[in-house]
């Protein structure tokens, strides 16, 4: 595979201050355009894995580069620029309740001081991608869970990130709504964006047949190019 290396982890270990070993000697390479599922039981280290990618958690040792940037040796003031190349999506959406759909999305452009003339066009185009163009004036509480998550996806991709990182994005959604979300992810991925998604959803992982990395007790126990969930849930 000659595609650009988006995420490179070599002997990455994370030990928290209380002595808990969250990740132990992890080696992973993720290339441009890949769609990767991160599976494993709760507390296995998935969250730590995800949080290290946007440097909310700093590895204790090893080498970690994301999008060509050395995450470990990076100065604090460079972190915002790392994050601008990533789109992050959470299980609980994390929308601002007093802002409309449009404002929630444009907020992500505003705070990185993106040019104003780009704003309307970019927001409209991501609203099209997630299928919420007609709801741009709504407030989050007027939307269903699936719609709120779609707004969160729109916000994550509005600045054209090269990697989308999703932590249990369908965790709060029913199966049908989840498929709607996965459909959006597939389209984003088809456009060339790398996707890393932590999930518990066996049905989705089995059906998609994408790369699966399974983590247990802080170690990678399986890494298959086209795998299934692999556990009886």
């Amino acid at each position: 595979m000659g595609l650009k290396l988006m995420i490179h982890m070599k002997n990455v270990t994370k030990v928290y201050e209380n002595g808990a070993v969250a990740l132990n000697n992890i080696n992973v390479d993720i290339r441009k355009g890949e769609f990767v599922f991160l599976v494993g039981s709760s507390g296995a280290g998935k969250s730590t894995f995800i949080k290290m990618l946007f440097r909310e958690v700093l590895p204790t040792s090893g080498i970690l580069t994301v999008n060509g940037r050395d995450v470990i040796r990076m100065a604090n003031k460079e972190v915002p620029y790392l994050r601008r190349s990533l789109g992050v999506i959470f299980q609980d959406y994390r929308l601002l309740p007093e802002k409309t759909v449009y404002e929630n999305i444009s907020f992500a452009m505003q705070v990185i001081e993106a040019p104003r003339r780009l704003m309307q066009r970019s927001v409209n185009s991501v609203l099209d991608i997630v299928g919420l163009r007609d709801k741009y004036k709504c407030f989050p509480h007027q939307l269903s869970g699936g719609e709120q998550q779609r707004v969160a996806i729109a916000r994550a991709i509005v600045n054209n990130p090269s990697i989308v990182i999703a932590d249990e994005p369908t965790g709060n959604l029913d199966p049908e709504t989840s498929w709607g979300i996965m459909d959006i992810f597939q389209r984003i991925n088809a456009a060339g964006t790398t996707i890393v998604m932590a999930t518990h959803d066996k049905t989705i992982v089995d059906a998609m047949q994408r790369r699966v990395i399974a983590i247990e007790d802080g170690q990678i126990v399986r890494d298959e190019a086209q795998g299934g969930y692999g556990y009886e849930s």
């Binding site: 946007f54 909310e56 604090n76 003031k77 915002p80 620029y81 790392l82 994050r83 601008r84 990533l86 992050v88 994390r94 601002l96 907020f107 992500a108 505003q110 705070v111 990185i112 001081e113 104003r116 916000r155 600045n159």
Partner: protein, 295 residues
């Protein structure tokens, strides 16, 4: 900084000032009181310094004669005085003239002297001017040694007292200022903390999408500065009014007291007070936002 970003900051500041209006009012009030006291001490110290300087630059010596000295002897003394190094001119002031001047100086309060009936406790004296302030001290010492001279006075004693008072004022004022500065910092940082806390979700999202720390910090720092600015404007206005009123009183009753003229002094005080207010406000908010930036 981009115009749009500045617009964004200003909007954010006013939204949050309105949101915690009572805390905002309390902060502004604290800043105003603290800066008022600070300004008062500053004005007092500066006036004392000015007074001391005035005294120091005086080149006049008053030579008081003993009561037994008659006019004949006085003329001899005058001759001796003129021979002392540095003496420029010597003027004789009789005890009656001295009394007249004293009455003039007292102005409205001259009835105080009625208690003396017709007796005049003031001595005859010479007013000696010296060419150079540096010579005042040695000249005065020589004059005191002359026969018939009771003493030779110049600003020295008063000055020493003034310096002492100024020094105490400075120490006291400085200590008080330190305490007030901490109180002000504390209340401003608490006000801003409320704002920051109310918006911690927003801050977290800003961090996730890659806003820089300064982009996040600025609206809060500006809010602190606005609180400081409003407080200091109130303090400056009160100080200006108070100084003008006091100056009028002083001119009426203590005409010889050399107060610093209102302009440009008050402008200077206003600038110092306003800048201090804004700096304290900015520091107060920077302190309170630090913790919330760690995402």
């Amino acid at each position: 900084m981009k115009v749009r970003t500045i617009e964004y900051y200003i909007r954010e500041v006013f939204i949050s000032l309105r949101r915690n209006n009572w805390m905002s009012v309390a902060s502004i009030g604290t800043v105003a009181v603290s800066l008022f006291i600070f300004g008062m001490f500053l004005m007092m110290v500066m006036n004392m310094n000015k007074l001391a300087e005035n005294m120091e630059s005086q080149v006049q010596i008053n030579v008081y004669l003993l009561d037994k000295v008659d006019r004949e002897q006085a003329r001899d003394i005058e001759k001796d005085l003129k021979e002392i190094e540095g003496v420029e001119s010597v003027g004789f002031v009789t005890k009656d003239e001295a009394m007249e001047r004293f009455k003039d100086r007292l102005g409205d309060q001259k009835t105080l002297l009625d208690a003396l009936d017709e007796t005049n406790p003031l001595p005859d004296s010479f007013e000696v001017t010296v060419t150079n302030p540096d010579l005042v001290k040695t000249a005065a010492e020589k004059m005191e040694k002359l026969d018939g001279v009771e003493c030779a006075k110049y600003g020295q004693d008063v000055m020493e007292h003034l310096f002492e008072i100024t020094r105490l004022l400075r120490i006291f004022g400085f200590t008080l200022m330190l305490v007030l500065a901490f109180a002000t910092l504390f209340i401003i940082s608490n006000t801003i903390r409320l704002t920051v806390f109310a918006r911690r979700k927003e801050i977290a999202i800003m961090k996730y999408v890659g806003a820089t720390d300064w982009f996040i910090r600025w609206p809060f720092v500006m809010e602190g500065m606005v609180l400081g600015l409003f407080g200091s404007i109130i303090a400056a206005m009160v100080l200006r009014t108070a100084y003008t009123a006091m100056a009028e009183k002083v001119y009426d009753t203590l005409a010889f007291f050399p107060l610093i003229p209102e302009q440009p002094f008050l402008t200077y005080i206003t600038i110092v007070v306003v800048i201090s207010g804004m700096v304290v406000g900015a520091i107060g908010s920077a302190v309170s936002i630090k913790k919330f930036l760690k995402v």
